[in-house]
Symmetry: C2
Subunit: 449 residues, 2 copies
């Protein structure tokens, strides 16, 4: 196969040319005819050649352009909410990504994933080919119900809906709960893709400053009174990007204010497994009346096998199922099967114990090296990937990030996270993606230009 | 594990109870202590029991309700665009689904899927854990470009975007191209989930009657003039539900009308691999100027491993990538890897050859048995799953369907497909799901009640 592909790429065979007959190629390569037949069959399946019965095999045309690479990091892209995601998702091997929000692939539970895939290869026909049921794989919802119960959240499996991802979970909720022009509260700073998603919904976005213990309660109350938002979207466990943790007293006050203002809160729990000690969950205090609890396993298990979930009031679950079917028909059953397979495998718990320790060491090491450059964290993170740091000397993080991109490093400048654009001097570093010496060399050079 | 689960289900162990110690259970079951340890570890991972270090293992609480079954077919559900999908997706083993729109799991390329899963278990770490690139797996897009080229559609890989499914593809396009209140044309009758999706987008939906050769050209022109729609959504290859095939002359006329009216057409190609001989593709005539070509592998490869695609103008692809990231972040990489693995395997082509023959036999057999009941097809389908049939004696298909549901058979009554509700006497039968004698016994009984 490689021989034929090579001849096509080198244009010694071009579209319309007839390939050597099976017998003659078998003879010249000293291989069996059946080997050549198999190779030709596979090339037909790939569309590289076509079979004309009675006549032979021919090179298909027109040919693909010689370069097929994904569009890599672009120097001219505006520093907007897509800046980090587009650059990071397209980045190839040599590009460093200290600004991205996920772990390197080899930090994820690879042996558990591979074991689950092998197990799936022996599963029932239905598991491999059928659409998912409306709510999604029952044993996974049962497992999620128990995990939530451990964090004090009372959600029966029938009140849990599986989704394709955490982002799709929030997107479905926005489709259900808000209209264009409705106001939505977010933290400032917050995860940049919340901005992108809410813009896609034409929401009016209002930011509430985040403190080391949760949103600023006074500013939260003022925002409720002035803007009458429909929704508030926030993280639980660990705030993205600051790494700060909600305190119980702030949680309680926020919920009281939400109650008075008939505000719905979406609590995004995707960082749950990074915690050493569990932070308060708004859904635990509130009992899923006013709070919707969502999550996924993209950060700790796999971003390749997609699976997220929503835990909410029963009436909303029913409406969300209809919306999910209307906009994506069945859910991704295989992703749910894979996630369930890894979660129920005893090895995942051990893996996460090891991962939390590995991350703690990385945060320590990266934190120390950043401090040497005068880059200091806003709060000392107790868990997770992120170091939210202030740059020294009034440096502009967006300028630094543009310079670094020219040297194949994707950084996350503070203002992509801040609605009020008040994080000009901040940068979010992913400790697990910041362990390469080159990062610190480039940072030093760029900061002293 | 089953022993412990059984005791909990039977309530001989309840929440808070301490489990037997590892050593004592090993002794009483005559198993090694390490087997018991492994079992307890897995039960902890599932959340069924909790470990209290130094104290032992305890049953977790509160317990799940004893019945966890998905909500099965509901007799009181309104016969609306979700009637068939909700009932079919939730149906369990004993329920027959002649009304559903997919093949039985054992008709799908199971050995290819299993082979691809085993192969994936040995893939790179990145394939198993990382987010997909913005456009999606490059070799799959290249393969799709070649497949489209075989049907005369000129789409470079960079103009192809992978999505989670065909439905998500259309949903993304609607998010990009239409506003609430915009008018969208559909065929009458058409796939019921187009109705559900367009309602979710608050579109005004206008139906154009379908003829055995494509949409009624005069009525199409009249609808353009009267309603000035933004979009027209239709199938290529085989129309759902009628099984009719677009003729070249109708295709050409529709495109001329579309051009004069600045109409965008979305052509849904999900039934492509069912064709024996290729029907015209609007995207082939038009060159992706006005036509967007979408598809997926849910019908012929797997509905469990989700993967769809959009081929469109370059500017739209760029905007669609941003929309995809905003609303679902990365795409499902594993689904794409699996689909690619099966497609490039020489066995898929052979499988599809066999499947088409198997379906042809099923259509013949089912068609004959339906004719015995006086149920006759509107057109004789040349390919695919569907038999779109008229009931005799002015029977109402919705009444028949409700009666059949009481006997655990999910049918597809005509009016769920028809915007104008002009298909009261029609039923769509999926030949592959209609091979059970019980269906015909129940149909006879219900029709003669």
């Amino acid at each position: 196969m490689e021989l034929i592909r090579g001849r096509i790429a080198g244009r010694s065979l071009t579209s319309g040319d007839r390939l050597p007959s099976i017998r003659s190629l078998a003879g010249s390569l000293q291989l069996s005819a059946s080997t050549i037949v198999e190779a030709y069959e596979r090339l037909v399946a790939e569309g590289v050649i076509v079979s004309r019965p009675g006549s032979g095999f021919y090179v298909a045309g027109p040919l693909a352009p010689l370069s097929m690479a994904e569009i890599g990091p672009r120097l001219d892209r505006a520093v907007d909410p897509f800046w980090v995601s587009r650059q990071s998702l397209a980045a190839e091997g040599a590009v460093l990504k200290p600004g991205c929000g996920w772990l390197p692939a080899d930090w994820m539970p690879q042996s558990g994933l591979r074991r689950a895939l092998r197990h799936l290869a022996r599963a029932d026909d239905a598991d491999l080919a059928d659409y998912g049921t409306p709510l999604g794989l029952p044993p996974l919802r049962q497992l999620l119900a128990r995990r939530m119960a451990e964090r004090g959240i009372d959600a029966a499996p029938e009140r849990i809906l599986l989704t394709e991802s955490g982002t799709q979970a929030i997107d479905l909720l926005c489709r259900l709960l808000i209209e264009p022009g409705d106001t939505v509260l977010v933290d400032d700073p917050c995860y940049f893709n919340f901005h992108a998603l809410l813009r896609a919904h034409r929401a009016r976005i209002v930011g509430v400053p985040y403190t080391p213990h949760g949103p600023d309660v006074e500013r939260f109350g003022a925002a409720l009174a002035e803007h009458r938002p429909r929704l508030y979207i926030t993280n639980s466990a660990l705030q993205n990007p600051t790494g700060a943790v909600l305190s119980p007293v702030v949680a309680h006050r926020i919920l009281k204010l939400a109650d008075q203002a008939a505000l719905t809160i979406i609590e995004d729990d995707i960082f749950a497994d990074f915690e050493h000690t569990p932070a308060p969950r708004l859904a635990a205090f509130d009992g899923l009346e006013r709070v919707v609890h969502i999550g996924s396993f993209s950060k700790t298990l796999s971003a390749s096998a997609r699976c997220g979930f929503i835990a909410a009031r029963g009436e909303w679950i029913e409406a969300l199922v209809d919306l999910k079917i209307a906009t994506s028909f069945g859910g991704g059953r295989l992703g749910a099967e894979l996630v369930y397979g890894v979660l129920r495998d005893g090895g995942y718990r051990k893996h996460m114990d090891g991962l939390r320790q590995r991350l703690a060491r990385a945060r320590t090491e990266v934190g120390a090296r950043l401090k040497q450059l005068g880059i200091v964290p806003w709060v000392e993170p107790q868990a997770g990937m992120f170091l939210w740091c202030r740059l020294p000397d009034d440096l502009d993080a967006a300028d630094i990030a543009r310079e670094a991109l020219g040297q194949n490093i994707v950084l996350a400048p503070g203002n992509v996270f801040s609605l009020s654009q008040s994080a000009r001097g901040f940068m979010r570093f992913n400790a697990a993606q910041s362990l390469d010496d080159r990062l610190f060399d480039v940072l030093w050079a760029v900061m002293h230009r």
